[in-house]
């Protein structure tokens, strides 16, 4: 309760939350909000201008792209793709990262060494390069891009969880459990892990924004979502050639990416302050 109270008191976090709720509603209600199907081709109306131009078309508020697809509908469905991508990346990297971080922190010794050296290797490559390498192995595509970006997100989770586990492990309640004869499984999963939730939640929120940004970057490089999936990064890349004639085709998908990423970052900052006031201002 206290956490929620603190979160609502921080204006920034509240703004991020509102923006996020807006995007989530758009994503969930895409089929009712979008005027057309995102893949429907209006072959007689290519490159239509948006509503602020004089010769705009009534049924295509934000115009159409070079293939005659309705921009507004593609942007709306793009919210669904982006948020879905973010959720998948966070779920994948959170499960695997938490398991590895827990193992490294709780078991220590060899397990810790092997896992942390692996983390070092993953961290010695720039995130996008690592994702590109994974895509080069698996082949391009939205799902492979998601797997690639999840691997990129792993080191963050592993380190955060390991650090939290090491702190918790030294506390007396763990000694007490050992004395009572609780098994390692029981102690690590049901006693230590619940106490490490705060940093995991913060990392997940921030992981959302990184995940969305990285998958969009892969889409932009042509290695993520493939046509005709309405993914913002890929839409941006497709409309690059028309930057002079129809700049809004480039502006709008990028603006959407920025706003979603921004809302997760603000929310993550706010959550961190609310969950752990000691870290405030960092």
């Amino acid at each position: 309760m206290q956490v929620i109270k603190r979160l609502i008191h921080s204006k920034g976090a509240l703004m991020g939350l509102i923006l996020l709720v807006l995007f989530v509603s758009v994503a969930l209600g895409a089929q009712w909000l979008a005027p057309h199907s995102p893949e429907e081709v209006f072959s007689e109306s290519l490159n239509l201008p948006p509503f602020w131009a004089d010769d705009a078309h009534q049924s295509h508020l934000l115009g159409t792209d070079d293939l005659g697809r309705d921009s507004l509908s593609r942007l709306i469905y793009g919210a669904r793709v982006s948020l879905g991508v973010g959720a998948l990346v966070v779920i994948l990297s959170m499960i695997v990262g938490t398991a590895l971080g827990l193992a490294a922190g709780y078991l220590g010794g060899w397990t810790d060494q092997v896992i942390m050296r692996g983390v070092d290797v993953l961290m010695s490559l720039p995130s996008i390069l690592l994702a590109i390498v994974v895509v080069a192995i698996l082949g391009p595509g939205l799902m492979n891009g998601i797997i690639a970006v999840s691997i990129v997100a792993l080191p963050g989770f592993i380190r955060v969880v390991r650090a939290a586990v090491l702190t918790e492990k030294a506390k007396t309640y763990v000694d007490a459990s050992i004395c009572l004869g609780a098994s390692s499984w029981r102690i690590s999963l049901f006693q230590i892990l619940p106490n490490c939730m705060a940093p995991i939640i913060v990392q997940s929120t921030l992981g959302f924004s990184d995940g969305i940004l990285n998958v969009a970057a892969l889409g932009f490089l042509g290695m993520g979502a493939q046509a005709p999936t309405p993914e913002w990064g890929a839409m941006l890349s497709d409309s690059r050639a028309y930057i002079e004639s129809s700049p809004w085709l480039v502006m709008l998908p990028g603006l959407c990416i920025l706003l979603v990423v921004l809302s997760f970052n603000i929310l993550g900052d706010g959550l961190r302050d609310a969950l752990d006031p000691k870290l405030k201002g960092r």
């Binding site: 050296r117 070092d120 490559l125 080069a136 924004s209 490089l221 941006l236 990028g254």
Partner: protein, 334 residues
């Protein structure tokens, strides 16, 4: 010195891990390297078997790996499937372009970031502070590939001030000395016009690439400085009547520098990530674009060599940053 040696020794396992990753990367791709090498032409089974024994692919994995390591020690990273040039040569030809772009981006973003961070900390809770931190949060969330396109749209398409791609106009033929065009152009015959041309080409990519580091450095400078300003010795300095300028620059900023350097070091990785996207947008002939093109062309030796060399660069840079850290913060020297 001992610190440096320890630090280098500690990075050996990471480096070995990277070689393992690069080694298995080629073996994880669908189809074996020979099929990839032969490409669409294919080949008869005898030819494949012969090639396999030439490249040692018929031997056990562990001896293949040691051969791979041996080749690396002899600086043999194989040849590009596309151009047939040695991977290392291709890398060294493109490396200066990326370093030039990265350094310029890092310098302007660090300088401006520290200045803005100091301003925000000094005028804490003012309108200036709030707007600077708001803008920096936006900068931090910016998809760099979109930001680059916006810069092109504004400065090149609308205003027509700056070129959109490449490092230099074709009309200048600069003899290569250092590989850094900003320096080479000054030694060439055309001198100033050529230099000015190089600057114009560099401006937009460096602006795009430096934005995220700028935001991160400004935020870190602010919070680190605020932390230091709480200390007792700052109160003492204030009490003896020191002016704000010497208080901040002589006493506070020096002590706030360590976390700032850490962030700048962390940003070097972010710069290389950004370089991959920035170079693609601005057709900048550096490492990032080279690797992206290699992935699109499925040029596996180049991807493998690129991964190895980029991570080697990052590991070396990290050692350098740590040494700098050590040098700036004497309390670590015990």
């Amino acid at each position: 010195m001992k610190f440096l040696l320890n630090r280098i020794a500690a990075s050996v396992p990471t480096l070995l891990g990277v070689t393992l990753l690069a080694f298995f990367m080629i073996r994880w791709i669908p189809g074996d390297p020979i099929t990839v090498m032969l490409g669409d032409r294919g080949g008869d089974p005898e030819m494949i078997a012969e090639l396999k024994s030439i490249y040692g692919l018929d031997r056990p994995l562990i001896s293949q790996y040691f051969q791979f390591l041996g080749n690396l020690l002899r600086m043999d990273l194989g040849k590009s499937i596309l151009s047939h040039n040695a991977v290392l040569d291709e890398f060294t030809a493109r490396f200066p372009a990326t370093v030039e772009l990265g350094l310029v981006a890092l310098v302007w973003s660090s300088a401006l970031g520290i200045i803005l961070g100091v301003l925000a900390a000094v005028f804490r809770r003012s309108f200036l502070d709030y707007s600077l931190m708001g803008v920096s949060l936006v900068g931090y969330s910016m998809p760099i590939f979109w930001w680059g396109l916006l810069l092109i749209l504004f400065f090149s398409v609308l205003l027509g001030w700056l070129p959109v791609s490449g490092r230099m106009s074709v009309m200048y033929d600069i003899p290569e000395k250092t590989g850094f065009l900003l320096i080479d152009s000054l030694f060439s015959e055309e001198r100033w016009p050529a230099f000015w041309d190089a600057v114009k080409h560099l401006t937009l990519p460096a602006l795009a690439l430096g934005t995220i580091p700028l935001a991160a450095i400004a935020r870190m400078t602010r919070s680190s400085l605020l932390e230091v300003l709480k200390e007792d010795y700052i109160r003492t300095a204030k009490a003896k009547g020191l002016g704000v300028k010497s208080l901040i620059f002589k006493h506070a900023l020096k002590n706030a520098l360590t976390p700032i350097i850490t962030v700048i070091g962390l940003m070097l990785g972010a710069l290389l990530t950004g370089a991959i996207l920035t170079e693609t947008i601005f057709s900048w002939p550096g490492i990032g674009r080279w690797i992206v093109q290699a992935v699109n062309a499925r040029d596996y030796p180049v991807i493998q060599g690129g991964v190895l060399l980029v991570s080697l660069t990052i590991i070396l840079v990290n050692i350098l940053v740590d040494s700098l850290y050590f040098w700036v913060n004497p309390t670590l020297r015990k």
